[in-house]
Amino acid sequence: MSKSKVIRLTAVMAASAAALSACDRGESGSWDAPAPTRACVDSAGVRVEDDQCNGGGGYHPRYFGSGIRIPAVGESVSYGSDAPQPGVAYTPASESYSVARGGFGGTAEGHGGGGDGGAGE
């Protein structure tokens, strides 16, 4: 924009503001697996980032079936299996997200759209 002038581009906003988000981290950090999913947990059963399982050190995969809640990183998990089901392909947790829709648009239903052609005078 040129609040005065010419466009000056930027790193766009995002990550650092996440801590101030109104989202409940517990809700947004976990999800229901849309397909069989493989996560990584430590020896205490706490989920860690997937790549931790590449280097041993007590980290090991935990396998979840479709529709099972995948815990957020840092969350303890007592369910799932330490062994995969034969013949089942598992998606890494870091690539497995279910997509939710309908989280925008609800207000418009009572207001007849989002545009504004009126002047209020």
């Binding site: 924009m1 990550a15 996440a18 989202c23 997200y97 925008f104 648009g105 007849g112 209020g120 005078e121």
Partner: protein, 376 residues
């Protein structure tokens, strides 16, 4: 400034439809009304143009004043949005930065600001394209205050290099009139003309995959043009994800438009520029005289507006908005046999870009007629 009664083109419906304005009739009456037109002198148009540029400068100053003092409470903006607004204001992510100043003007005194529709303005296709085609056919020797299409395309071209993949999703709400769909389709046309690949999507179809916003094929949304107000977005279930969006979606318009599009800014402007000739007094604390307009800070389409003169309520439009009330001085709109025009003066990134006129009674709403104009 005169209002002329003229004969509409016999086939006007098909002509405006061919330009995309399928929403030309509302509630059984023409919304696009070419049975009349407004005629301005060049000096009058130049005055509107000057006022538009001047108002924009004042909005920039007011925005800086509000952001630097973190006056977001006055605007009823949720605290989690504050750092996003501050960052966007400072860093200036890509934006069309367009908007429509709604002005009261009687042809003689200075234009007076009613409000600035700069988050989700409509009546855009009518102003940019349809009235120009009408003028070209009906008044080929006259001019028109209108460079809106060219300025929008030029602005898209400016920001295209900063939009990843030079692409964007264009969203609007599902609604029955087609007005939002028409406006969004027109914005898609302007973006496409600038080389941006545009994909339409309903705002309710925007997905969240746990990390970022996605489209219907679960593709990341890297740029989202939305004809959908910020104050609705941030209060809806996905609103909280805006702050944690790892996809760093570029929002057009940016979130700082929550300040400019909120009518509380009228009170800030009046405090900063008291008695400025292009402003009407405004306050959130109550009317300063017995003649005023009361309007919600976050209302749209003239809803929940009340017009009072000398203590008598002259007009009132009910609606669903219950936001903070802003009181504004009453401007006597010129009366052409009951038709009272409001000037919608467009601006694109600080440059006045044309105007569209809507006429009705004392309150202009989404069914108020659009009437084209010419310059002598």
């Amino acid at each position: 400034m005169r209002r002329l009664t003229i004969a509409p083109r016999p086939d006007w419906e098909s002509k405006v439809e061919a330009l995309g304005l399928v929403w030309h009739t509302a509630a059984g009456a023409p919304y696009w009304n070419e049975a009349a037109c407004y005629r301005f002198s060049l000096a009058q148009v130049e005055e509107i143009e000057r006022a538009t540029a001047e108002l924009y400068k004042m909005f920039v100053e007011a925005g800086e004043y509000i952001v630097s003092r973190r006056l977001f409470d006055r605007f009823d903006i949720p605290p989690w949005c504050w750092p996003l607004i501050e960052r966007a204001w400072r860093e200036e992510p890509p934006a069309l930065n367009y908007g429509r100043f709604d002005l009261g003007y009687d042809g003689s005194g200075p234009p007076k600001l009613f409000e600035f529709n700069c988050d989700t303005p409509t009546s855009l296709l009518e102003a940019a394209v349809v009235q120009w085609a009408w003028k070209t056919e009906c008044f080929p020797d006259n001019d028109q205050f209108n460079s809106l299409h060219e300025k929008l395309v030029a602005k898209w071209r400016d920001i295209a290099p900063y939009l990843r993949g030079s692409s964007g999703h264009f969203a609007h709400a599902r609604e029955t009139t087609g007005e939002d769909a028409v406006t969004t389709a027109y914005l898609i046309d302007t973006a496409s003309e600038a080389g941006i690949r545009a994909e339409p999507i309903l705002i309710s179809d925007v997905g969240w995959d746990g990390r970022r916003f996605v489209g219907l094929r679960n593709e990341p949304i890297v740029t989202l043009y939305k004809l959908y107000p910020w104050e609705w977005l941030v209060h809806e279930p996905f609103g909280c994800h805006i702050a944690e969006d790892a996809g760093s979606t570029v929002w057009i318009e940016p979130i700082w438009k929550m300040i400019w599009s909120n009518k509380v800014i009228l009170t800030v402007l009046w405090d900063m520029f008291p008695r400025h000739p292009n402003l009407l007094w405004a306050s959130c604390d109550g009317p300063a005289s017995d003649s005023y307009v009361a309007k919600p800070s976050l209302g749209r389409e003239g809803a929940n507006v009340e017009v009072v003169r000398r203590g008598q309520r002259l007009a009132e439009k009910h609606g669903p908005y219950d936001a903070r009330t802003v009181y504004q001085g009453l401007f006597d709109l010129p009366d052409f046999d009951g038709a009272r025009p409001v000037i919608g003066s467009w601006i694109v990134d600080g440059n006045p870009a044309g105007m569209g006129i809507r006429e009705d009674g004392l309150i202009t709403g989404n069914l108020s007629r659009f009437v084209p104009h010419i310059i002598d």
